[in-house]
Amino acid sequence: MIFGVPLVALASQLVLGLFNGAFYALLSLGLGVIFGLLRVVNFTHGAFYTVGAFTAFLLTNQAGLSFWASLLIAPLIVAALAAVLERSLLRKLYGLDALYGLLLTFGIALLIEGMLQMFFGVAGQPYQVPAVLSGTSNLGFMFLPHYRAFAIGISLLLCLLTWLIIEYTSLGAKLRAATENSSLLEVFGVNVPLLLTCTYAFGGALAGFAGVVAAPVFQVSPLMGSNLIIVVFAVVIIGGLGSITGAIVSGLMLGVLEALAKVYWPPSANLVPFLIMAVVLFLRPRGLFGKGE
């Protein structure tokens, strides 16, 4: 018993918190990378997550592919969609007030959501957990569902991989250089427009991946992304936009704090991310990990 809550309940809530936190981390990471380079707050991010989940649902239930194949293919499809959107629409707004980008991506998100609603209805669709991961293990103090552990593990692995790419590869170096001064980089002969498209597509792929991983646990519904994206915005503000560590750490932290709130005072669980955001804005307006602008 810890503060009147049985250890088993607390531990399983913490795992759930880490599980949610992993999604926050994946999504805010993508948002951060896109914002850093394109200076666009990507409202469509939640829709990418939803599209990822729906693509996996269709690939498995209609085309008969396995979960693992969907996990690979669905993010690529989302990336392609993102690339098309960037090339056809977003690109035309780069010279203008950056807020138009925000409004455009908001419109795209609504359009995608509306279309999914038209074809699939608002009700959630079930998606099976792959058989290999369907069991639970008894750790002595709690039961750990395998799928949750897998989801947390693979999300963190992907975050780590992204971080390594950005920090240690030449592609990552170009990306960071473009974030600092894209016109100078272009002078050096780097194809910056292509870099922008790839970045947007990559961010979309991360969100799509998160959507596939989420599909077996949450129901696949057109609104799953828009409910999540606002919390992710709070995560991004708390961590500081443009900070990769900030995105990952504050994502996980927020997931865990939300879980704790659920255990100790359930009605506050939904409010916790926003309350923390308000406090952070007051004390450190640039976010916990944000650098000066």
């Binding site: 807020l99 409004l103 606002i230 915005f233 926003f274």
Partner: protein, 334 residues
Amino acid sequence: MTAMLAKTSTCPLHRRMYAKLALMAAGLALLAAAPMFLYPVFLMKLLCFGLFAAALNLVLGYGGMVAFGHATFFGGAAYVTAHAIKEWGFGAGSGLMIGVAFALVAGFLMGIIAIRRQGFYFAMTTLALSQMAYFAFFQAPFTNAEDGIQRVPRPNFLGFVPLADNLALYYFVVAVFLIGMAVIWRVIHSPFGASMTAIRENETRTLSLGYRVNRYKLTVFVISAGLSGLAGSLKVLVFQIATLTDVAWQMSGEVILMTLLGGVGTFLGPVIGAALVLTIQNYMASTSVPVTIFIGAAFIICVMLFRKGIVGEIDAFMRREWAADSIRKKVELQ
């Protein structure tokens, strides 16, 4: 010759003023006669949302801040007014006032946090804070969660104006709408409004000139919140219901679309944008296509093709015409 030139060059200004006066008179006549041709409840809905969009425009167009959380003021004031009238027996006037008071306080609280950051951060912060308010309303016992506050009575205004009658209510709504618009007009055309424009155009420079920028921004945000609250409270009198839809983030998005479509930073644009969006929504409600598709598509078209909005584009066109006209006159004189 110079005297004549001076006289002719002021001419377009006069003409613009006459055009505006004529437009105003036509607008008032239209408002007075409209219920004879159109369903009064729809007209009242239109006026409520027109006022809401015009209030948002104070922040969006004149303050240059994309506020993504105005649903909190609109829907929150609606809840407060509905509760005050239904449970506490408030009258129409005092019900509106308590709704506005709520919106002013909420606007102050949200504003004081949100104005600490600019641009996107401001947008995301207002969105996140309004989502927090959404959950708070959802869980508060007096809002009845998904059911909302229903069957709110329409009390008499000042004890003798029978608002239960749709036509009487219509003229009451028109009066409140005009008062709200007059407040907006006054704010825009005051020294305060000019300072706001300066902040919008170049915040750093205005700051260096010694203006307390944050105080200005907070003030305009609070005024805008109060007027949004007025619109929300007014809507309760019309529909006799307050629900979660009005505090949800989709509402904040919709009102941005209305403003954008009509023309950001124009006086009448938001009202026209609201009329357009509501008319199309009304039409779409009879089809099976979800309304979000229309809203999303309208956003995309607006941002890609006409960022000035309908009134903004007309205004720009008229200005070009007037300028060309006065040049032609000058050439003729010479």
